[in-house]
Amino acid sequence: MPIRETFWNIPHWAEIAQYIAALVTAIIFIAGITRRVLRWRKGRPEKRSGHFWKRIGALITQVFGQQRTLDEKFPGIMHFSIFWGMLVLAAGTALATIDWDVTHLFFGFQILKGGVYIAFELMLDVLGLLVVLGLGMAIYRRYIARPARLQNFPVKKLAGDDTYVLVMLAFITLSGYLTEGLRLAVTQPDWAPWSPVGNAIAALFLSLGDPTNQTLHLIIWGMHIATAFGVLISLPFTKLFHIFSVPLNIYFRSLEPAGALRAANMDGGMGVKEWTQFTWKQLLDFESCTRCGRCQDVCPAYASAQVLSPRNMMVKLDDHLWEKKPRALHGEVVSVDELWACTTCRACVQVCPAFIDHVTTFVDLRRHLVDQGKMDQMLQDALSNLGRYGNSFGQSDRMRAKWTMGLQPPVKDARREQVEYLWFVGDYASYNATLTDVTRKTAEVFHKLGLNFGILYESERNSGNDVRRVGEEGLFEMLVDKNSQVLSKCKFQAIVTTDPHSYNTLKNEYPANGNGRYPVLHYSELLDQLIAAGKLKFSKKLGYKVTYHDPCYLGRYNGVYDAPRRVIEATGCELVEMPRHRERGFCCGAGGGRIWMEEKEVKERPSESRIREAVALEGVQTFIVACPKDLTMFRDAVKTTGNEQRLEVKDLIDLVAEAL
């Protein structure tokens, strides 16, 4: 009967030596892991418990299912193969050990015998090929295809770490197959064909005969075991550690709404000045980065000027945790320019297979810069204006509702009368001279639809969304206070806004909106609701071929992808998607306070890259936006890329007004 004889050809002393090595490995392994965990515990506390089953569910889909990793085909399949192949081989080895050293030794029976054993051999033999396939793909990718995102690490020694992992895994797998083949060559059992790979290798060695093969077997077995222990020992000290840290990072990821930033640390100055002021979860983030570079590939800041790479930031921060002589976090580890370059678009967070939250860390680091007053003059002026006048334009708050002048009927004052919809207009729609036409058009459409709506007139302040993301937490709180005070005195059923930034913070961060006291609607959602309820009917079918740009704070931050698309389709337009759409939408470059900062030298502005993407779509003449800032950003980009004849940027409301 086929039976597993685990230590065939292994002298007793070698078997014992192996168990001693295992013990040493275990000690070093545990010490290595403890060293990491102790480092994380130097971070500040942060609550990440609760929702146990939800977290376990994510482990199943993301670790075992490799869902996000598989978002990209080649690297996805590559990693999936290595992961599952290694998992099965490791589990098989564990089972064989239990079979031999527990059940056989103590209880006198074996699981791995007969049919079970044959199935076991077949499965391990075939699934081991997955590892060979995955490793082959990895070696091809890293050393032959050489995509840009795997090059130029800011910490040079990491290239060696990457090679080490590939070499070790390749050696483990190959030596495993060789050991098996040599064993089969010597013992030649009837069931050898059930190990097709091993059997094929055996055929190669048959001619050597015994005892050569037996000696070879012992040598290669020894090397196999040594490599296996080597891998385990080095796991807590090399890139292999991601096997441990990434599942933890996925398990402990934030389940709060993406649009709700954590309040600033105020202990020892605002934000993070030294790495110990990060929370333990942020430290775990840094230690989970596998340098896959996916974030860098989607980063608009990286694409436009290569100043900031979210991948490099994680690499540098992780390296910093272990520095013998810690350098200054700001200026030495990461540069000020890098920190200001981020548009907080969240594209990196969306694609990271390790579920790292880059943006929270960048904002914490910016908070310290604000605390020290280190920022460019334009940003400083914008913040001063926001503090003094409640808007970044430095215009009088009394002029906020100037755009309503002459509108008939006049726009209601929500502070004085009850309305159904309180329209939070936002700075850009209120003050930017080139946008007030669209703002007026929005008011006219609302009137035509018979909506009972009003605005806060000069009592409205900037909502603070980007003020917070710049890192000016105190000013953010002040703006929230002022807006909340007037909101609490008004009577309304829902807030509506055209500005995704205001939308985000009003919905997710305003304490006055605790537990969703009132719904916050983006105008695209409101229009969509009205269409669904039959209250908004169009008289025309426009028939334009259009494309739509997902605003980061509407899409990635709040998952509103369908409402604007349904509105566009209801106006009778044909929607053609750009390659980067929905979750992969490409930022216009204005977010996170970037619109208030001096523009450094760039290769191609994100907005220009976006316009070129749209222009490449055949027959598309209209570029639809659903954010006032987008309107200014993309109208500029259409001009600077010389596409004025080719593409027109329109607001969603333009389509609606035209089709009414």
Binding site: A264, D371, G373, Q380, S384, E473, G474, M478
Partner: protein
């Protein structure tokens, strides 16, 4: 080194200015006040000197809307003492202000007094020179850059046409700041809020404000459209010809 920085608040030009019915003053109903920009530079320069060579910075201001916030901001930047003159300053001109500041400053005995070199509200002589006169101290205006050197300072004084002079002055002295060595810094709101809990504004009541010597406003008015300008129409050649004709007519050619 003790540095005193008297500052004042001026009308904020983001608001439209209107003239009150008397026809000699601004209507204060819609008026919003803001720190005089160059005074903000004077505060920054004082803080920079303190950071460089140590010392104590006192910021003084007459009472006005928003002054408390500004004083706390100055404290968050590094000012040590905050003094607010209280009383009715609605009719106080720079002469009155200069005298009031002089009384308080005499008691502070500073080594250096920094003011903004000018303000855009009343152009009846800057507070700096007036203060210097009342205190009997030397004054250098249009200063952008100060080097301390024992009991004297070397002030970089700007002249029109881009000329710069280095002027050595014995302390104590009054300097009118044209620009601080770096733009006034930003202070995070959280820092200001923190300072509000700890810093104290000392109040000094001022009862008699003496404004003699100042200018008396006869009439305050918006720029009036005059019909003196004649637009010459036509091609550049035509316009040039017409110009030459006009110059000849006026006897300049």
């Amino acid at each position: 080194m003790k540095i005193a920085v008297p500052i004042k608040f001026v009308p904020d030009l983001v608001e439209e200015l209107t003239i009150d019915p008397s026809g000699t003053a601004l209507d204060t109903t819609w008026l919003r006040l803001i720190i005089n920009e160059l005074d903000d530079h004077a505060v920054e320069q004082a803080i920079l000197l303190k950071e460089r060579s140590g010392g104590e910075v006192t910021v003084l201001s007459a009472e006005a809307d928003g002054v408390d916030d500004f004083l706390f901001t100055a404290a968050a930047k590094g000012a040590d003492r905050l003094i607010k003159l209280t009383g009715d300053f609605s009719a106080a001109d720079n002469h009155a202000l200069g005298r009031a500041f002089a009384d308080v400053i005499k008691e502070l005995q500073p080594d250096l007094i920094l003011t903004g070199v000018q303000a855009h509200n009343d152009l009846d002589g800057s507070v700096g020179p007036l203060l210097a006169e009342y205190l009997g101290l030397p004054y250098v205006g249009y200063v952008a850059g100060i080097a301390l050197d024992g009991n004297k300072v070397v002030a970089r004084k700007e002249y029109a046409g881009g000329l710069v002079a280095e002027v050595e002055v014995k302390l104590p002295a009054v300097l009118g700041i044209q620009a601080a060595e770096q733009p006034p810094r930003y202070v995070a709101y959280s820092k200001i809020r923190q300072v509000m809990g700890t810093a104290k504004i000392e109040e000094r009541p001022v009862s008699n404000l003496e404004s003699s010597g100042g200018v008396v406003v006869g009439r305050l008015f918006q720029p009036e459209v005059a019909e003196r300008a004649t637009m010459l129409e036509g091609s550049p050649e035509d316009v040039a010809d017409k110009l030459v004709g006009l110059f000849k007519e006026l006897g300049t050619l």
